[in-house]
Amino acid sequence: MIHIQDVSKVFLLPHERKTTLRQRFVSLWQKNTYEKFYALRNISLKINKGEFVGIIGKNGSGKSTLLKLIANVFEPTSGKVCVNANVAPFLELGVGFQWDSTVKDNIYLYGALLGMGRREIADKYDWIIEFSGLERFVDAKLKNLSSGMQVRLGFSITVSVDTPILLVDEVLTVGDIDFQQKCYDSFMSFKKNGQTIVFVSHDLNAVEKFCDKVVLLENGQIGEVGNPRIVLSKYKSPERI
């Protein structure tokens, strides 16, 4: 289902980033100096259909980059990422909303971004509103909602898509207890339907509870992969700190 083959992602971090013609002109005779940063280095990973995979690791270990590669937002510097199904990504906060539009318009916009057609969104509209608990705010502009409400809305639209693969990046920390519970419930039903979920989280309890397989990333490389309990204990063990 998801096949990652020997993938590296390198970011060239210029010591001084030149983003204008003027800067290029002014420094015409100076050499460009770069810092090569390997966000991911020779990663190989296979995720099968129906698996619930957790990705853990410290900040900057490459978790989000890996998700973005799977979501086709980034292209790998070398190696190959093969995903043979449609992907619904839910990455980071804020998602991709139009802040000056109403909740209703945003549902249609975001639904379309995730690949749904008009009829499909119309069919799911009521469900999305109910799941996000925003019944009273349908005509409110998005910028006037609290950040928790925005995340709830984004997540509700994402899970409403009939997609074989769901990517979730560290979002549930914003919702309250009730909504977190709802999310986890919907994860379970996803799992029952045989959908694949890739889940990045620092919430180790949730990872242990839901995941079939856990990938531990360390400085852009796979430190450990396999059974959640074993990987987690390795992550938590003191000699790694």
């Binding site: 937002v73 093969c82 992907v87 991709g96 971004l113 995730l114």
Partner: protein
Amino acid sequence: MSSYTETYKQTNRSGRKNYLYLTLVMAMTDFKVKYDNSALGYLWSLLKPLLMFGTLYLVFSVFVRWNVENYKLYLLLGIILWNFFAEVTLNSMVLLEGKAAILKKIYFPRWIIVISSSLTSFLTLFFNILVFFTFFTISGTRFSVSNLLLVPYIIELYFISVGLAFLLCALYPKFRDIHHIWEVFVQLGFWATPIIYPVSIVPQKYHTFIFLNPMARIIQGSREALIGPGGEFLAIPNHIIIISFAAALFFAGLFLFNRLSRSFAEDL
């Protein structure tokens, strides 16, 4: 492994067949935001071009006095068409930054952003042309079949603008100041194109230069179609020249855009 990649591409294509819908939804939400979801919002947005029109009209009709028949309509049409061109090309750069959050999170073909924004502007152009026809009727000019000759010019205008929008949008993440540079070019273009002044005041020997600019040909042709008198710019050779320009710009723009847009998510 190549078959794996092919399946990936195939499913991605068939799984995402709603690009057209996405383009339309994006255009509509932007349009609603632009005009605050109300007709008054649109009226408000007319203030700028009308004020511009009023000022120029005052200066060049009352103070300078060009000898042009129907100068009012002549000027208004020029401004409306030029504003569309300026808006589409300038917006292409601003909107990339506005959509950066989406670009970094969801994959979709990047051209959708440029096309949807151009559609938003096109809708504005459409309403502006309606406003033009209101003036047209008030001023007592008669409609005629030859007015329909405006349509090909509008299509050519659209493709030239979008082609340039693709070019500028593609270059923007690497050269941010291209926005300011282009603003200057739009200013220059406004004066280098016969928008406020009639071509007749330009010495004959400069005509070749003036009409190297396809915008001058489009605006001149549209005028001949709507206001008359019909002349060389309604003829087929003019269209051939404009269409060659438009096609070259459009395909060059699209090509460069497709090459560079893959790294938008990293560069923005």
